[in-house]
């Protein structure tokens, strides 16, 4: 009889001790939970281009959180899809071509200012208010803020908006990744390889 009591007491004590440890750990090492929508939103490129068919990145983040597929963001491209897949623990999917293709280089909108008629249509289209101007006044793009989303190009009645690649300067230039000279990778130009070694 007493042995049962001892066993029970022992187990109870252990339970209390471990419970206390777990409780302490839960408080002490509490993970600051970032709501999932915000985490997803942080991974999206914030171009607000709407190519995903949602009116901006946040709405798409909300949609993803609600089960929308993660491959609808062309500006983010593959890296965003992989990051989202990592975050959500799902398989990365190839970019949904229906929503557009990933661009190789960052773009910026430029208004050919002498052609601008000041219709304000582009101002209304810009999701991040990066176009300055007033009715009947020439408009201009705040290049530093422009995300290159394209949304202003369509509404312009006189087609005076161009999307141009962001200019490389001495300040933002950096070396390219070395060409794939590492021979462990599949080589399209085998003869080159053979020859390169003397």
């Amino acid at each position: 009889m007493s042995s049962i009591l001892i066993a029970i007491t022992l187990l109870a004590t252990l339970a209390i001790i471990f419970g206390a440890i777990l409780g302490f750990a839960a408080v002490r090492f509490k993970v600051e939970g970032n709501p999932i929508v915000d985490q997803i939103d942080d991974l999206l490129p914030q171009t607000q281009c709407g190519q995903c068919s949602y009116p901006g990145c946040k709405p798409y983040a909300e949609a993803i959180a609600a089960g929308e597929s993660i491959n609808k963001c062309p500006p983010g491209g593959e890296s965003t899809i992989i990051a989202l897949a990592d975050l959500l623990g799902v398989e990365p999917e190839p970019l949904d071509a229906e929503h557009g293709a990933e661009k190789d280089v960052p773009m910026v909108a430029i208004i050919r200012e002498d052609e601008c008629i000041g219709c304000t249509k582009c101002i209304q289209a810009c999701p991040i208010d990066a176009i300055m101007g007033a009715a009947k006044q020439m408009h201009t793009v705040i290049a530093d803020e422009c995300t290159g989303c394209d949304l202003c190009v369509e509404p312009c009645p006189v087609d005076c908006i161009d999307m141009v690649p962001v200019e490389t300067t001495l300040q933002n230039w950096h070396w390219d990744k070395p060409e794939n000279l590492i021979a462990t990778s599949e080589q399209p130009h085998e003869e080159n390889l053979e020859q390169g070694v003397h």
């Binding site: 991974l43 021979a183 462990t184």
Partner: protein
């Protein structure tokens, strides 16, 4: 950019070192050991090495063709050859030919190329091949060891020798009747089994242990190990690898065996641990395989010590005659983890960053 001048990144000078040179030097450093092996245990290992090399080169060429990689470029790096030589040394001298072929082809195809080829394999290919045949063909792998007294080509205590053609016969035709007389288990295995009911002195009287009371080494094996030690030290002097791994392997194994082996009647004494079996080969040639080892200075010490301890544990309490292969493979598993937690302190930092990046993977979005 089209211009008349070459445009490439710095540095423009190069020290002239190359992968094939490193591999070749390692192969050359095994030569003293191979000579010793041949001297004491007959032609078996030499035949194995030749067989393994041919198999390795054929396998490598085949799989490179399948993987659409340049064949001569890779064959020139000597890495396949090195794997083959190490396997040829490690396998029992009288292992049937097909054991060698299976081990080598498995190590080339599965342990190396299926992981992406040289530099990408997480496990030491030679040891993967070795472990495979050890598990699959335990009989051949435990009884094909040569007894030096019967096989030595030298003069000390020669009672009988086995000629080159006889060796070929044993390996290729599997004439077990012949090999029974000459081969058997390794000294470590023997000692371990005998220690259950005999005293150290009694065991050391046995034929495997030079028959001398004062000799704490196993006949022939000590010279083989010393030969490998010489080769290893030469590589160390040539800065092919650093002292960390061999030192920590030997130190850990020595320490463990001294602690447990003080009573030679119960456990294998430290001298046998250090100077028999594949200890030196393992410490200098196998554990130091850079692809699969830990790479940080502190990590190398931990990795080596892990191998040393595991060798002792498996040799002492495990069922297998030698433990280098398993010890190395087990530590291969641990190498990436060790690396993660043993980053050195960088210039200008108060302490080292260790572990994984703490930030969430937001930075996966590349520019």
């Amino acid at each position: 950019m089209s211009s008349n001048f070459v445009n490439i990144t710095s540095p423009h000078a190069h020290g002239g070192n190359s992968t094939s040179r490193i591999m070749l030097l390692v192969i050359l450093a095994t030569v003293p050991g191979i000579i010793a092996l041949t001297y004491f245990f007959g032609w078996g290992n030499l035949i194995n090495i030749a067989l393994a090399s041919i198999t390795a080169i054929i396998c490598e060429a085949l799989i490179l063709t399948i993987r659409k990689r340049p064949i001569s470029f890779f064959l020139k790096d000597n890495s396949a050859l090195l794997t083959a030589v190490l396997l040829g040394i490690a396998l029992p001298p009288f292992a049937p030919w097909w054991v060698t072929v299976v081990a080598v082809s498995f190590s080339m195809v599965f342990a190396k190329h299926l992981y992406g080829g040289l530099g990408n394999n997480p496990f030491n290919p030679a040891m993967v091949g070795y472990a495979l045949v050890l598990i699959s063909f335990p009989v051949q792998m435990t009884t094909s060891w040569a007894s030096p007294f019967f096989l030595s080509l030298g003069t000390i205590g020669v009672e009988q020798t086995i000629s080159f053609t006889e060796s070929l016969q044993v390996i290729f035709s599997g004439t077990t009747s012949l090999s029974d007389a000459f081969s058997g288990a390794t000294p470590l295995d023997t000692y371990k089994h005998l220690a259950k009911n005999e005293t150290a002195n009694e065991i050391l009287q046995g034929p495997l242990f030079s028959g001398s009371e004062n000799n704490w080494f196993a006949g022939g094996w000590e010279f083989v190990n010393i030969a490998f030690l010489v080769g290893g030290l030469a590589l160390l002097a040539l800065r092919i690898f650093t002292w960390h791994i061999p030192f920590s392997v030997l130190a850990a194994l020595g320490t463990c065996s001294m602690i447990f082996g003080w009573d030679a009647d119960l456990y294998v004494p430290w001298s046998l641990h250090i100077f028999t079996g594949a200890t030196m080969l393992g410490a200098f040639f196998i554990a130091t395989d850079p692809v699969t080892a830990s790479t940080t200075p502190l990590g190398k010490i931990i990795y080596g010590a892990g191998i040393g301890i595991l060798i002792f544990v498996i040799r002492t309490w495990g069922a297998y005659p030698d433990a280098v292969a398993f010890a190395v493979l087990l530590m291969n598993f641990a190498a990436p983890l060790i690396d993660t937690y043993t980053q050195p302190r960088t210039y200008g930092h108060d302490k080292a960053n260790r572990g994984l990046p703490t930030k969430p993977d937001a930075s996966d979005k590349e520019g």
